[in-house]
Amino acid sequence: MFLIECPWCGMRDETEFSCFGEAHIARPLETEKLSDEEWADYLFMRKNPKGAHREQWLHAAGCRRYFNAERDTVSYQISATYKIGEKPPGGSRK
């Protein structure tokens, strides 16, 4: 069971959290102007990397705040958690 540092509450057990998959997916502003492919990319396409992955988590049984975490999908080590709107550590990564 993971030990996750909620940016608002500190270290808590994984059982208090829910994971919402890939983080940093911004909703397009003018959705009507998007092609079907562009919209499908936003809607369905998700990264599934081996290694470092940025995910959105919710402290569901706690402060009910969403936040982001960088987690290694192989070792399961969470290298950082940060609030929504904050820049991910180590800058952007494509």
């Binding site: 069971m1 057990d13 909703r27 009507e32 919209w39 809607l43 080590q77 929504i84």
Partner: protein
């Protein structure tokens, strides 16, 4: 003393305390300190059960968790435990044990005939034989289950109590052998908070069966001193009878502590087991090593034991496991067992050593006695049925590939075997490591892991006592230092013992033709032999994981603890590759089987496991005979049967009464969320598909929420209480999800919006008063509200008072009738309900439940999200396109509504169905076809989502999702049922009652 096979003296049993117990109904006597197996062996009982597939007689093999054969059904009735390892069951007065796999009895087993036909039951036998013809599988399965079952699961409720506890510690030491004790001492003396968990009844591990010395004193005395010191330390917790069975991420480990199983049943009190969930900063794995058996023909007879188990039984339990013994080994450690047997008064005929030479001090000590040491030889077969009678020994050729010469047959009733040692790497592997094969030492050692963990002693491959002490001290010091304590304990000292290398002997040569001789077993519990693994390879299985599943090697209650490494050796040899390349199967929790009770703890029933939610009027419903339906965690009244009424009688009566006069429904369970803030309306514009900016204060509107994929997610009525204050209703089951969904948008996408969400579902009790007389009823209860049709129109909301209590009345309808939903703070729910019932008395107000609610709404074609939708249905599919704003630039899911898949003409669309026979009700979920006479498989065109008998219409009604249904009005579809019956129906609009929709507006 009545036990014939007790030694004269010694051992850690209490000769003053005799204990009576029964095995298969027969009474026996043992001693305090015995395990079930040691007590049976003391009585000369070796044969414990029959094997799983061939029903061969089997006996005790080991003295620990790896035991494959000696598994028992302990006790009967509500405390029965299946498949308990007799090697770990502590003896108590009155213990009732029986064999698990023999029928009709242990001595006379009808199915042992399987043994004669073993060649006809190879690996994959069940897959090959019983899968054809397919229709017979259920019948075969019944027989196979009876023939092959292990223990029997309890059928009665468990009377015992189980507990959970959560702990944090600096250092968790797993295993209370000398390495673990030393590590705990080092960390404990440094001041660290330590938990040390040991599986056995007392700490000491294998050293409890040793005659060695530590720091110049008897090893047993040293252990006693160490335990006493640990118990004195306030920061140290020493757990006995506690198995660390799971190693999870971030040093989270689970421990099963057995609190009372060792006591006579009448003396038990408090809990039976405690589940410790421990988060440790550092973990020391001192789990020891397990001895491997050797593989040869008929290596499974009762009387063949691991050499280390023989030492444990003689030295620790004061039991002579036989009268005349042979020791068979490929390494040095078994020589000690020969000496232990001799000291206990057992005649030792010979030590058969596969190695051409053995010159260690220990081997030479054996040679100096009357025990014959036969080097360069192997056991090739054994004789005896229910007990070993003799072993057959042949010389091994110089290159080890063949056997030759005369067969030397030695009479004996005990064979102690040792095939080398395997560190218990299970927890290390569970923590994310891959065990590493050490060719020189012939063992898998623990691998690298991300977690803060170190293995020490035999668990890391150091098999000698001095090495265990040194590694234990080092591990304890290091772990404490990693937690910022100063630690510098010196390792306790023990004599250095020289040992020569183990000769790998996975599948020793045999005089029999390959695959033709008697079975040489790898996995005793699953009756997997060398030939089965060879067959699996011949049939094309190469991965160790596939071979495991094809042969069943490593399944069962022991999970291959005894035989798996040998099996991997045989597999590697058969495939002519290295063991390192072959690898191990995956080690998963749990290390040993854990009771369900332990996991459940106190999370039982409807109080703590799945809490029941009741509305404020629940007691009234109960008092008035309601039957309840589970909706999520809620108990909702389903219907209120009167004397002699069936469900359908009651629903017909409730429907008619409501449509003709007035009915009342407890609607408290609907989700309620307050949406407040300056941007509340703007936010709802994005969340819902229709317009909210211009909704007047005091007015309500029905809305759909979509997922971003455009599919219907939830629906409900939302009321504007003030400019910046909305009161949202959600479906009963969707409330929590909708709240999290809206929070997610607010927190992650539109943090600039000033909106606050509050769940108020439990704050309000709600009664829906429905029917032509509803206005009279509510008007009599809330005298301060003007209920006039123009003063209080449809889709309006007003506040008022019932007595002195503030309430809110919404004129909304889920039935197509004139209707009002009255809300009051939940504590006044019953007060409100009784007022309404009283006011409705003269109209014969009829309480109704969810079933009538469903019928009333289906008569009007109102959908229920989750019943008439399934996550693949759009608002247009429901025929409710009017609810989609054409003017808003955007809302959640809008862009998806123009995706090619969403605008397909042949999407499943909501329609009504009228059956040819008006009294026939199509089962919900029935599939629909155009032509029931078409070739199978019939192309399916839709399914029935809602279906009822409508008393108001006088015929059945149904709603269905049909491909292109909106353009098929008047066409015929068929519902072929599994019974063979076919129901014919006509597609219609899904509104069956009051098609003009005038009534709610009355």
């Amino acid at each position: 003393m009545s036990e014939r096979f007790r030694t004269e003296q010694g051992g850690r049993v209490d000769r003053e305390q005799e204990i009576q117990f029964t095995f298969n109904g027969k009474p026996y006597t043992g001693l305090a300190g015995d395990t079930l197996c040691s007590a049976l062996l003391a009585n000369g009982v070796h044969m414990i059960g029959r094997s799983w597939k061939y029903h061969r007689p089997r006996g005790v093999m080991s003295a620990g968790a790896e035991e494959p054969n000696a598994i028992f059904q302990i006790e009967k009735g509500n405390r029965t435990i299946p498949n308990a390892r007799g090697t770990q069951v502590e003896l108590y007065a009155g213990l009732d044990a029986s064999s698990v796999n023999c029928w009709p009895s242990l001595d006379f087993d009808l199915l042992s005939i399987n043994s004669k036909f073993s060649r006809m039951m190879p690996a994959g036998f069940y897959y090959k034989t019983f899968m054809w013809p397919k229709s017979m599988w259920m019948k075969y399965e019944h027989f196979i289950r009876k023939a092959s079952g292990l223990g029997e699961a309890p059928r009665e409720t468990d009377p015992d109590r189980y507990e959970h506890t959560h702990r944090h510690c600096d250092v968790l030491v797993v295993g209370g052998g000398v390495a673990g004790l030393t590590a705990a001492l080092a960390a404990g003396r440094a001041g660290a908070r330590v938990i040390i968990a040991d599986e056995q009844s007392e700490p000491g591990g294998l050293t409890l069966a040793s005659k060695a010395h530590i720091d110049g004193i008897d090893a047993l005395q040293w252990i006693e001193n160490a335990v006493a010191e640990l118990q004195e330390m306030p920061e140290v917790t020493l757990l006995s009878r506690s198995t660390v069975f799971g190693y999870h991420d971030y040093n989270f480990l689970t421990i099963n502590q057995r609190l009372s199983d060792h006591l006579p049943i009448a003396a038990r009190s408090g809990g039976r087991e405690k589940l410790w969930q421990v988060r440790a900063r550092q973990v020391v794995l001192a789990t020891g090593a397990a001895e491997r058996p050797l593989t040869f023909a008929n290596n499974d007879r009762p009387g063949i034991l691991l050499a280390s188990a023989v030492s444990t039984y003689t030295n620790r339990y004061a039991v002579k496991p036989g009268k005349r013994a042979v020791v068979y080994t490929n390494n040095d450690s078994a020589y000690q067992s020969a000496l232990d047997l001799k000291a206990a008064g057992v005649e030792v005929v010979a030590v058969v050593d596969a190695r051409t030479d053995s010159a260690s001090e220990l081997a030479n000590t054996v040679r100096s006695t009357d025990i014959q040491v036969i080097n360069g030889s192997v056991v090739v077969d054994t004789a005896g049925h229910k007990r070993l009678r003799s072993v057959q020994v042949m010389r091994l050729s110089a290159d080890g590939s063949t056997v030759s010469g005369n067969v030397n047959s030695m009479a004996c009733d005990l064979l102690a075997v040792s095939g080398g040692w395997s560190p218990v790497v299970h927890l290390n592997a569970q923590s994310g490591a891959k065990p590493v094969w050490d060719e020189e030492a012939s063992m898998f050692r623990p691998g690298e892991t991300q977690q803060a963990q170190v293995s020490a002693g035999a668990a890391s491959g150091r098999l000698d006592l001095a090495g265990c002490l040194a590694e234990g001290a080092d591990a304890g010091n290091q772990a404490a230092k990693a937690c910022c304590f100063k630690a510098s304990m010196k390792a306790p000292q023990a004599e250095k013992v020289d040992a020569e290398a183990t000769l790998p002997l996975w599948n020793a040569p045999s005089p029999y033709t390959r695959g033709r001789g008697p079975k040489a077993f790898i996995d005793m519990q699953n009756d997997v032999g060398v030939a089965d693994i060879e067959l699996a390879v011949r049939e094309g299985f190469q991965s160790v994981e596939h071979v495991k599943r094809y042969t069943a090697m490593g399944f069962g209650t022991d999970q291959g603890k005894l035989g798996n490494i040998n099996g991997m050796g045989v597999l590697a040899q058969t495939m002519q590759q290295s063991i390192a390349a072959t690898g191990t199967t995956t080690y998963r929790p749990n290390y040993t089987p854990i009771s369900f009770g332990s996991f459940a703890g106190q999370n039982l029933g409807d109080r703590l496991f799945d809490p029941v939610r009741k509305t404020a009027m629940h007691a009234w419903h109960e008092e008035n005979g309601a039957k309840f339906e589970d909706v999520g965690q809620w108990k909702r009244p389903w219907y209120y049967p009167q004397a002699g009424e069936s469900l359908h009688d009651a629903v017909n009566r409730e429907c008619l009464a409501t449509r003709e006069s007035v009915g009342i429904l407890d609607a408290s369970t609907l989700g309620k969320i307050e949406v407040r803030g300056p941007d509340a309306a703007k936010f709802l514009e994005m969340i819902y598909t229709n317009n909210w900016m211009k909704l007047e204060v005091g007015k309500a509107r029905y809305g759909f929420m979509l997922g971003e994929d455009g599919m219907v997610m939830d629906d409900g009525v939302t009321i504007r209480i003030a400019e910046d204050h909305f009161f949202m209703h959600t479906t009963t089951g969707g409330a929590a999800g909708v709240l999290a969904w809206m929070e997610r948008w607010l927190q992650t996408e539109w943090p600039e919006m000033e909106v606050f969400l509050t769940s108020v579902t439990d704050h309000w009790a709600t009664a829906a008063v429905v029917g032509p007389k509803s206005r009279d009823v509510v008007a009599a209860v809330c005298e301060d509200i003007d209920f006039g049709a123009s003063a209080f129109p449809f889709m309006a909301s007003k506040t008022g008072k019932i007595g002195d209590v503030e309430c809110r009345v919404n004129r909304i309808s889920f039935s197509g009738e004139l209707a009002y939903e009255v809300n009051i703070p939940a504590n006044y729910g019953r007060f409100m309900w009784e007022k309404l019932m009283q006011a409705g008395e003269k109209f014969k107000i009829t309480p109704y439940g969810t079933e009538t609610m469903h019928v009333l709404r289906a008569e009007k074609g109102y959908v229920i999200v989750g019943q008439d939708t399934d996550g693949s249905v759009t608002v247009d599919d429901l025929g409710l396109g009017w609810a989609l704003s054409k003017t808003k630039p955007d809302f959640i899911g809008k862009r998806s509504l123009s995706r090619p898949d969403t605008v397909r003409k042949d999407r499943k669309q909501l329609v009504g169905l009228l059956t040819e026979d008006p009294m026939t009700v199509i089962p919900e979920g029935a599939q629909l076809v155009n032509d029931p006479a078409a070739a199978i498989p019939l192309p399916m065109v839709g399914h029935v989502s809602s279906s009822y008998y409508s008393a108001c219409c006088g015929h059945s009604i149904a709603m269905a999702l049909v491909k292109g249904g909106h353009h098929r009005m008047g066409e015929t579809v068929y519902a072929p049922l599994s019974s063979g019956r076919v129901i014919k129906a006509t597609i219609t609009e899904p509104v069956f009652y009051d098609k003009e929709g005038a009534k709610p507006d009355a």
